[in-house]
Symmetry: D2
Subunit: 453 residues, 4 copies
């Protein structure tokens, strides 16, 4: 397969691998190993046992398919995994086997394992968002005053600039990235409560073990275990949902601008077709739009799963297991695709300008109306210009020609005033100012933050 | 891993495998092979070429990971697969390579491949539904008059029978299975339209090839290709969503009845706990409830994906690729779990009866009120009995004792009439009749249908 | 307000009114009145009481706001309504008040009332679907061979016809309408089970009353009450979801075709803008697309609500109360909007043809490749033509000119053969045949069915 | 209707009214009035015109039904409203009518109007969350060491305390409230961009007007208009979704604890039944659970609506109009219900303790195993105790009796050690410590924040 393909989906594949069966098991084993080390450090289990456990805790020593097959009947993956780990350890040292999973419950291991996956996967997504934001900022700066048609209801409405459009993306990307970052930080905490959330199996030493375990794993210890309180993960899912929507917005714009008949942008590495040799498909936009279609349902599942029964759920928790990983993968897919699309984007400024002439002046109707309004009021101006545009459409003529025939208009505006009002370049309002504001805001945040906003 | 585990998830694993990467590629290759054969039969491609193509169309000859890696940049899996297939064929016979994928488009192959997967996977689900229905029917018949508490708002309300509860499940399973069967039948049609849905690449022979291809694959040819019209797949997704909801309803009832403090049923093969040796977790119910939590979001995604652009979508179609397979897997998981749970169900009829005494008569309040109502009206009877129940609760006494102290009641009902009214067995109404009606309806339909409902 | 506005939303407003607070209460009162009449006919309640109850059962005699305010604390609307009805009846005849709501439970009244609303509202939706289908059929017939660009990934792909596009809509509308009709029929059944679903309060006569009540209301009596088994309503919700997706697909196509730069269709009664006098907004398409965005989440809610506890739900049933009505209203909105859009549609066949020339031949690339393929194979032809299209794009030339410079091509095709291959009209494949098949299928079904398919 | 009903739904009705048709129109009129005042202050429109516009901007002067009827054909509510407002103003002063809606677009008015509704409605929700949190904190403090059964998979698992359960709720409520508060703050910004988002109709003075308008309305001016960038509203929807899930979790626990057979809590003001006089329905829990079922679908809709086309959407924006208000109402419903439920909660500590004896020691199995584990290892102890529990269940005996028969156990633990291990009070681990941590965290945040966390 060509290298190109590899490049354009490296992040996606990285995140997929992090949530694949091997890494899932490895992260759970990491928790078991860290637990043993933490308890050894506190003298709760023998140091030697902790070493043996840590050595056995390598996913490549386990039969992943057998574990997956056993999970449905056992109720979760941790039960067969702990059993298999105990067997492995026993082979090496029968005594050490006594201390596997000491004081923990399945959910401690599954949830903390998931947190470790999240902690490793999300920086990949955030880094692609940084790439996308950097590219959007460059477009915004460069095209702050490049005129193009603003389109509302998919109809040309009035002029805007490509920079303003890109600034809108940039602003949204910044806000959305911040939301993801905050949600990841909040979600990356230890889960450790034991069978009933009281750590009773550890007697007086539960909190001490929790702190040490958190230290081993580099995870903060929350004020209380969160077995059946899922708001942190739900909030992370939501942040990813908002992210996918934002990516979908950018991709929707790009794909509409890349239409054959509009051709104002093109993806740098379009896809081909198995049937049509000339096709230049905006495949990155499609990836991002697919992410935007998929995320809402996955978010809804995470929210629906929240009302979990008592101290451990019967259905809700289980529903999360594939849903959140899928959602992270979907977000990674969308983020990488938008980064690729924006970085490689071809911008056809000439075509943008020419497309503004497609309506032979109609797109400037508001401009004319607003030039007229101070003389006769907004409503009357709107009506006069609306009538003129109707005539221009019916008779298929340029708006300028129709306007100059209407005495009610020429009483206030002569031909040259009308023509001036019809120039897109002179009707861009605060577009450039808005672009500056967005770039400044992005920069300021960038200073405070290590990386982007 | 113990055999038990294998048994309880055989269907799930079968369906997972059918939607795994190898089978996915194989089904697409099956379409390519059938296309070549169909065209050879019509003299459009050489017979020899069709043979070579068919021989090359074996998934184990392909690098599945490389294909998966190439898909994101290409836009879909068919593009690299057709390229790889052409390469394989070329190795065997350069001339035959000219005829690979003749007149088809990527979507023809991807959609028809999916249809082949569905056709093979859904009978597994339907067969588990048959198992579940058979078990529910047996429970309904056997326990048609076994009294238990009906519970509304999770409060004991009045007596019902376990058979009536099971009949409700059975009736719903039948209706839901019918819906799934109908949706599968409707969805299992050929997709074959070529690049633009016109089959223009096949000149005058498009329809002829379609008929022959349908014949090769055993798939009906629809009146028109359905590239961007997804209502059949959306309806299938919906039928699976309704199914998961129905399974979730059964599982919710089972899990509530299996609570430690209620203990009216138990799963035959409960799960254990990694921390708590006495646990008998209703893991099959949890599987089904998890399916019921997951399905709605996946259905929503399939519906959100429907408004697809023009002749091929940009985002919507792509969003289906993982969503529908996941939904089928989720439904298979839920169906198998409910079949397992109902087949192995322990029913504690004695405990059901004893639980009816927990309220010391309160659960029979409506019965008393309705016995009183012909004498003084429903509203007045309701009020009198409500007052008595309030006193019984406040003073922690049996309802019978309180009722017999109220002259407004004893004026119409003496102690023995009150005690008669308080017997659950005499207040089961049409429960047994409803059970009969459900069993009859299920039987009648069974005659018409080969297998179940 | 102008008459136009009224016309274009009459169905929407009709359905909104049917699910408004007054009609909601009236339908519940209709159930209470019918119950009294049914019981009077069977001698269970006095005939006079039934008359008084029926007379009191008029929504305009009730304080709708007070009822709505009382519902949250009571738990549902039926409790305060039955109380208020009993008070009304008592004023007229104290004795009759004894027989209000006899043997029923709140859910019987609320669910059957909902069924009555559905039975009245859905024909409005189906009638708009008939309008839409009739219009689509006319477009399909008239434009069976009107060439236009098929677009895949929003890129011009190859020629198709507008009739084929309309036939695709028609086929989907038929299938979807059938699904809605079937779901409505299935859902329109009586709910009558009493407190515990056993009708015990009616002693031996429960089924008899049910049959008579069903007769009074014109509703079939199901084999078993369905208090906590919601698959019929969930399936109706799903059918409406699939419908909204189908409507959204049509609207997406229309809105894309109506873009300023493409201009191949226009809505007959576009909307204006408060700011831009020239705007011709496709407001009907927007209504339908909004319906397609809203329906999936509402469907998901109905599915999520299905696992209802025991004999009456705690949360799930309550979640349906506003959700299903909203979904019917959303579907009515979308159906009416598409009917309006298709009936009034302006079709710009000339522009469709001219847009096929926009790519200066690229859109015919597949046609050329397929003309070449019999000579050198599909893959080689694809590559040669792909190279030519690349050159045509880079050098901004017509494809014909580039092709005729390539000896590898002209060896097989001379200039006139190339030009013939580049004519859209000669590369429409089975488009017209597919249109005929769809029209025939629609007609045949129409004969069997009273009204449409 | 009784006063009680009113009290328990005052917040709900307040929020419903804020999103009702009158208030919706009023908020849009507030924007128009503020715009006129802002422009008058800057000398852009005459001061007198601004006064006349402000005076006309009162919803009670408008025909709300006519406006609602006109909206579907116009495309949005602002178009007929601006027209009607202009007519009103013209009646008072023809000249002033020229300046209505000056430089604005429909979306400016609709979005900013929505923001004003949100700003007024959400404090009601947050105040109910404060009530709920205060009540949860009191329960947590008071019952920090009140033993009850922790239940996992709806099976008694091991002891916990009611205070720990309440602390879990409190912690989640705090985190969720913070999320809502942050989302509200972020969403409450001005929308003002004019037709194309450039404010071009205001020439050089667009930003100046925006600042002044923001000042008039008390809304921050964002760095760029956000017409088609909806991430702020989507994030608010998400925060409400997480909130509803958190409320649903609390309500799920309450409703399960209130079951007739468990009876560990009761709502202070339960609902009655139209059929069953003794019912004490947990109606507040049902309200909150219904909110948790409804919110996910509504959140999904808001996320699905995000990929909006170019400068104004065709479907996505329109889909938000009823969805976000409904979601706020749903959240208000759930928040008030949980506040009511927690404030009025009856806690049956005696029953909690007695329920711990229901299993005759099984619930203490982990405790025994952990007491045994230091002697023989966790796995071996687990197996021995599991065998004992199996025997206790089969032979229906107390676990203590079975354990004392097993020499492998009594070798390490004598009868009194076993009995000590079986006392729930001595196996509460860090429960009280976790409660303290949660209460401290809640208090600290409360100091920083004005009101709660």
């Amino acid at each position: 397969m060509p290298e190109r393909a590899a490049d354009a989906s490296a992040s996606l594949r990285g995140v997929q691998q992090l949530f694949g069966p091997a890494e899932r098991v490895q992260k759970m084993l990491d928790v078991e190993a860290a637990l043993a080390r933490a308890q050894a450090a506190l003298g709760i289990v023998p140091a030697h046992a902790a070493e043996v456990i840590a050595q056995a805790a390598r996913a490549d020593g386990f039969d992943l398919e057998a574990l997956a097959s056993a999970a449905p009947a056992a109720g979760n993956l941790a039960i067969p995994l702990v059993k298999a780990l105990t067997d492995h350890v026993r082979t090496a040292d029968a005594d050490a086997a006594r201390f596997v999973h000491w004081g923990a419950t399945s959910q401690d291991v599954i949830d903390t394992g998931l947190v470790l996956q999240i902690r490793e996967a999300l920086p990949i997504v955030l880094s692609d968002l940084d790439r996308a934001a950097t590219a959007a900022a460059a477009h915004a700066r460069r095209h702050a005053t490049t005129p193009m048609a603003a389109r509302t209801w998919l109809q040309q409405a009035a002029p805007t600039t490509f920079g303003l459009k890109a600034a809108g993306w940039l602003d949204a990307l910044g806000r959305t990235s911040d939301g993801v970052r905050r949600a990841v930080d909040a979600a990356c905490v230890l889960q450790f409560g034991g069978a009933a959330g009281t750590l009773a199996a550890l007697g007086e030493r539960g909190l001490e073990v929790a702190e040490r375990l958190g230290g081993e794993l580099g995870l903060p210890v929350p004020v209380i275990p969160w077995h059946a309180q899922r708001e942190r993960l739900a909030a992370l899912a939501c942040a990813l949902g908002v992210l996918c929507g934002t990516l979908g917005k950018i991709a929707r714009d790009l794909s509409l601008l890349a239409q054959t008949e509009i051709d104002e942008v093109a993806e740098g590495r379009p896809g081909g077709s198995s049937a049509m040799p000339h096709k230049r498909n905006p495949v990155m936009s499609a990836r991002a739009l697919a992410a935007a279609v998929r995320a809402p349902g996955l978010v809804a599942t995470m929210l629906s799963a929240m009302p979990q029964e008592h101290e451990r759920a019967l259905g809700g928790w289980q529903a999360e297991w594939d849903t959140l990983p899928t959602l992270v993968i979907v977000a990674a897919d969308g983020a990488e695709a938008v980064a690729e699309a924006l970085e490689g984007l071809e911008i056809h400024a000439g075509r943008m300008r020419r497309n503004l002439d497609v309506t032979r002046g109609l797109v400037m109707a508001e401009a004319v109306a607003m030039t007229l309004a101070p003389h006769i009021g907004r409503a009357a101006a709107h009506e006069l210009v609306e009538a003129a545009t109707r005539r221009a459409i019916e008779e298929d003529r340029a708006l300028a020609d129709v306007l100059t025939e209407d005495a009610a208009i020429t009483r206030w505006l002569d031909r040259s005033a009308i023509e001036a009002a019809l120039r897109p370049e002179s009707y861009l309002g605060a577009a450039a100012a808005f672009v500056s504001r967005v770039l400044s805001a992005a920069r300021v945040t960038a200073t405070g933050d290590a990386k982007a906003r």
